[in-house]
Every structure is written in structure tokens, then in C-alpha cells.
Amino acid sequence: MTGSVDRLHNELDELTRLTPHVRRDRPTRTIIGSWFLLLISIAYFALPLVGTLLFSLRDPGFAAYRDTLKDPQLYKTLGYSFLIAIITVIVSIVLLVPTAFWVRLRLPRLRPVVEFITLLPFVIPPIVLVYGLLTTFSKPPLALTGSSLGSDVLLVCAYVVLSFPYMYRSIDAGLRVIDIRTLTEACQSLGAGWVTIMWRVILPNLRVSILSGAFLTLAVVVGEFTIANFLARPMFATYLQLISGNLAYEPAAVALISFGITWAAMGVIALLGRGRREKINVAGAH
């Protein structure tokens, strides 16, 4: 028994020598368990993707992909989703950055209140939110759902609300790191006004936080179905649902494309977040 343990030790030492970046101070038992768990998890996560891939390839010669990529609706809805996402991000930044900044600088006691508000979207899930929005804004004096522009406005505002939790947290985390009080006082003593302070000092320092939050919002908006569906807007997710009812193999191809887009967005976030200790809190899927 001890012989084999010694041998295992020696092999681990050898392995340690070859892979210096690995944490090897864990007992062997734990390491084996970790690998086992990891492999099972990878299997669970990979299989559905593999299934989708296989299905999408049933039509010979990548026909599913070719047909998908030939469908103008794909690009229309994808483009529309991206556009909405970008507008959402801009509105979100314009709304949240000054607010987070002001709260930190001048209203520290109200911070719990503001944080509470940013957590409200969690209490009011998308389906309830869209229900409420439709009820509120379908009648005068706030009738918005009648027109497509009105619905677009509603859509963007709903997504901005949805983005509160992680945009605000991301921005707040970024602000925590820079000493805004001193920076602001320095700017003011040099004669700068608020706009200059925001535009030239605060925003540049928040670049990473904002970009992280932005890409996260992007991923969420592109994948979001419930609100888009009930506000009847031609978003990517509703398009996907439409074709899945009508076509056979194309939905699989589109599903993979959608997964790929989300992964690309997350990859960018990971790249941006490299070197930072704070991981941005992500929203869950629905």
C-alpha cells in the first residue's frame, strides 16, 4: 500500500516538475475527484451542443447553414437585436454612470437605496415586467404600444431596466477603485465643470467596467425572448422561435450561431476583465 502511495507521490512530483503552474499541494484524492467532476460536467455541457451540431449537419453539405445564411430575416433580426442592444447600452450608460458617480460623491447614505432599486429587476422577472408594461402603456395618456416606434422605446426601456443589476454593479465596482472625490476636487480646482469631469476624467477610467457591462447587456439582449415576444418586436430570439416551428434543420444551425455569438461576447468580457480581481456578476438566463 505504501509502495503505491510512494510511487504516486513520485509521479506527482514528476508531473509537478513538468507543469509548474498547477496547484499540486492538494491531496491526490482531491485531485482525482476534481478531474472526475470536471469531466462529467464537460460531458453534460458538451452533449447538447454536439446534438445540435449533429442535427444541423443532417442536411448534407452544410445545407442547413447555407440556407440559414441566405435568409435575409436572419440578418434583419440579428441586426435589429444588435441595434436595440447598442441603444440600450448607451441609454444605460447615460443613466447609470452619472447616477453611480453622484451617489458615491454626494449621496453616500442613499447608496443602499439605489442599490436596492437596481436589484428590483430581479424581483420582477421579464414576464411580469412585460405584463406590467403592456398594461401601463397600452392606454392613454401613456399609450406606446400602438406604434412600432413606441414599442421600440418600450423595448429599450425594458432592457435598460433589465440591465440595471449588472451595469450598475460593474460601474460601481469600477468607481470604487478610483478616488473620485479627489479627482473631482482636483478638476474643480482647475476650473472644470461637471460635463468635463464626467467626459474627460470619470468615463475614461471606467472604460473596462463599462465595456464589460456592455458586452453582457449585448449577450442578454440578443438572447432575450420573453419581452421581445410579447412586445411583438422582430428580435433575433423571436425569429429563432418562428423558424423552429416551420423548418427542420435550420433552427439547429441558428441555435449554434446564437451560442457562438454569446460566447464571442463573453470572450471579449473575459479579455477585458483579465488582471482584474472582480468578476462581474452575471445575470441568469430565462
Binding site: 503552474h21 496547484r23 499541494d25 492538494r26 482531491t30 485531485i31 476534481s34 478531474w35 470536471l38 453534460y44 455541457f45 452533449l47 447538447p48 454536439v50 446534438g51 445540435t52 449533429l54 442535427f55 447616477t99 453622484w102 454626494r106 449621496l107 442613499l110 439605489v114 432599486i117 436589484l119 428590483l120 430581479f122 424581483v123 422577472p125 414576464i127 411580469v128 412585460v130 405584463y131 406590467g132 408594461l133 398594461t135 401601463t136 426601456c157 474643480q188 480646482s189 449577450a219 438572447g223 420573453t226 410579447f230 429563432l240 422561435q241 423552429s244 439547429a252 441555435a255 454569446t262 460566447w263 463573453m266 473575459a270 468578476k279 456578476n281 445575470a283 441568469g284 438566463a285 430565462h286
Partner: protein, 298 residues
């Protein structure tokens, strides 16, 4: 350094104790206004509708009617699925997160799993349900594979279009969410605590029992609560998979919106407010737990 009159003024005022008119508060008006308009107001509308009869009189009957078999079953199913996926994902997610962070696996794996978790936790709705159908649906490739070696999962009564199937699918975004949320807490387990406990003579089990788990408990519970809320509010995935066959609260509300009515829109409002109430309770529990968890991180 000379200070601007504004800053000086604020400092003088606060020192003398005299309350300036809080003009500062106007700074957050846009934000609060936005939140009121697009978050609070809709909720209020729903609430008002939920305590009214069709003719506009005040009543609590709508809430009483939530106990009707159909709606009660919807709440029951939603809570059951949310609870199950929250607990399963909570345990497995914690184990997976621990494995890649502190379990002796290569460092790059951690980044990989974290990135993938970020993606997977946002992957839901039609694409996700399709993916599972393609895998373990009736003609899914795993089902076919298993049949070819003699085991037909569907012969055991299993079907993906069931609560179990739905839970399996939900796990796909619940597990990664758990991994992401619990990672900071695992990072917060200081290496010295483990070393100190070993030095004092404790075994691995004793370390977990007396130190690591107690310290992690608030975070673990808080995360499970968050997962519960996440599953409870989910709509797209369930609808895409079951087409409304399994009534969940979110799906019933969805049908209400698409026109299949419960017959009574005030009941629909009550349903929605019922959801909000449950979510509010989970949020309060989560906040309390996360404040406790923060204490350990000092």
C-alpha cells in the same frame, strides 16, 4: 490647493451642522424617475388590478382564487422545479467551482470554466430546448445511441417533455450561474485557515465541518436562493420545451398575455403580483445572507 466655492460651501455647511437644502438629491432624479416609470409604475398597475374586480371595486378575491386547482398547480410546479434545480445546481455547481478553483486542477481550466459559465448561464429559451431535444429527445442522438446498445430511456416512462426533463434543461443555465456566484466566496477561503487547522491537528473533514462550511454557508444559501429566483422567473425555456403543456406560473401569465385567458384578467394580475411577492421574499433572504457572508470576508 484652492477649492471651488461649491466644494468649500458644502464643507462649511456640513461642519456647521446647518442643513443645506439637499439640492444634491436632484442628481439621481433621472435614474429614480426612470425606475419609477418603467419598473414601479407597471408593478403598481398590476397591483391595483389585482385587488379589483372586473367592475373596479376593491376585493381580495383574486388572491383567494389563486388557490384554485389550476393556478395552485402552476405555483406548485414552479416552486417545485425552482427548488429542485436550485438545490441540485447549488450542490453540483459548488463542487465544480471548488474543483477548478481549489481542487488541484490546472490554472487555465479555471478561466475556461468561468468563461463558459458566463456563456452557458445566458443560454436559454428556444436554442437551449432545441439542443436538448436534439440530444435526448425521442430522436435525439444520445437516445438513439442508447437504443443501439439496448437501452431505451423512453421505455422507462422518461420523457424530456416532463418536469424532470425541464429540470434537466434548467440545469444547463443554473449550474453555471452557481459556479459564477460562488467563485468569489471560494476565493475568500484563505489558504491560511486550512493550514492553521492542519497545524492544530484537524483532519480534512474537521476543517470542512468546523471552518470551511460554516464560513461558506451564508454564501451557499444566498446563492441557492438566487438560483431559486432565477428559475422561478424563467419563461422562455419552459415554453419552448413544453409549449405550455406543463403549467408554470410564468407560462400561465404568458398565455394570459397572448390571449388565452384565465377568463379574468384581474386574476392574471393577482398571479403576477403573487410572483412578485415570492421573489421579494427571496430577495430579502438573499440580502440578509449576503450581508452575513460579507462579515467573514474581512
Amino acid at each position: 490647493m484652492t477649492q471651488s466655492p461649491e466644494v468649500l460651501g458644502a464643507r462649511i455647511a456640513s461642519r456647521s451642522g446647518r442643513r443645506r437644502f439637499p439640492t444634491n438629491i436632484f442628481g439621481i432624479v433621472p435614474f429614480v424617475g426612470f425606475a419609477i416609470l418603467f419598473l414601479v409604475l407597471p408593478t403598481i398597475y398590476l397591483f391595483v388590478g389585482s385587488v379589483q374586480t372586473k367592475t373596479g371595486q376593491f376585493t381580495l378575491d383574486n388572491f383567494a382564487h389563486l388557490t384554485r386547482p389550476f393556478t395552485a398547480a402552476a405555483y406548485g410546479a414552479s416552486i417545485e422545479i425552482s427548488l429542485v434545480t436550485a438545490l441540485v445546481a447549488g450542490i453540483l455547481g459548488f463542487l465544480l467551482a471548488y474543483a477548478v478553483i481549489a481542487g488541484g486542477l490546472p490554472g487555465p481550466l479555471r478561466t475556461g470554466i468561468m468563461t463558459f459559465s458566463g456563456v452557458a448561464s445566458n443560454f436559454a429559451g428556444v436554442p437551449l430546448s432545441l439542443a436538448f431535444v436534439f440530444t435526448i429527445g425521442r430522436t435525439g442522438f444520445i437516445t438513439v445511441l442508447l437504443k443501439s446498445i439496448g437501452f431505451d430511456p423512453y421505455s422507462t416512462g422518461f420523457t424530456i417533455y416532463s418536469k424532470i426533463g425541464l429540470e434537466l434543461v434548467y440545469l444547463y443555465f443554473q449550474l453555471p450561474l452557481m459556479v459564477l456566484i460562488i467563485a468569489p466566496a471560494i476565493d475568500g477561503l484563505k489558504k491560511e485557515w486550512r493550514e492553521a487547522s492542519e497545524n492544530l491537528g484537524a483532519t480534512s473533514f474537521q476543517y470542512w465541518r468546523h471552518i470551511a462550511l460554516p464560513v461558506l454557508l451564508p454564501s451557499l444559501l444566498g446563492s441557492v436562493i438566487l438560483l431559486f429566483g432565477n428559475a422561478f422567473g424563467a419563461q422562455a425555456t419552459a415554453f419552448a420545451l413544453t409549449g405550455g403543456f406543463i403549467p408554470l406560473v410564468t407560462i400561465v401569465i404568458g398565455s394570459q398575455l397572448s390571449g388565452d385567458t384565465l377568463g379574468d384578467k384581474n386574476l392574471g394580475y393577482a398571479l403576477a403580483i403573487g410572483m412578485v411577492a415570492i421573489m421579494a421574499v427571496t430577495l430579502v433572504a438573499y440580502s440578509w445572507l449576503s450581508r452575513r457572508a460579507e462579515r467573514w470576508q474581512r
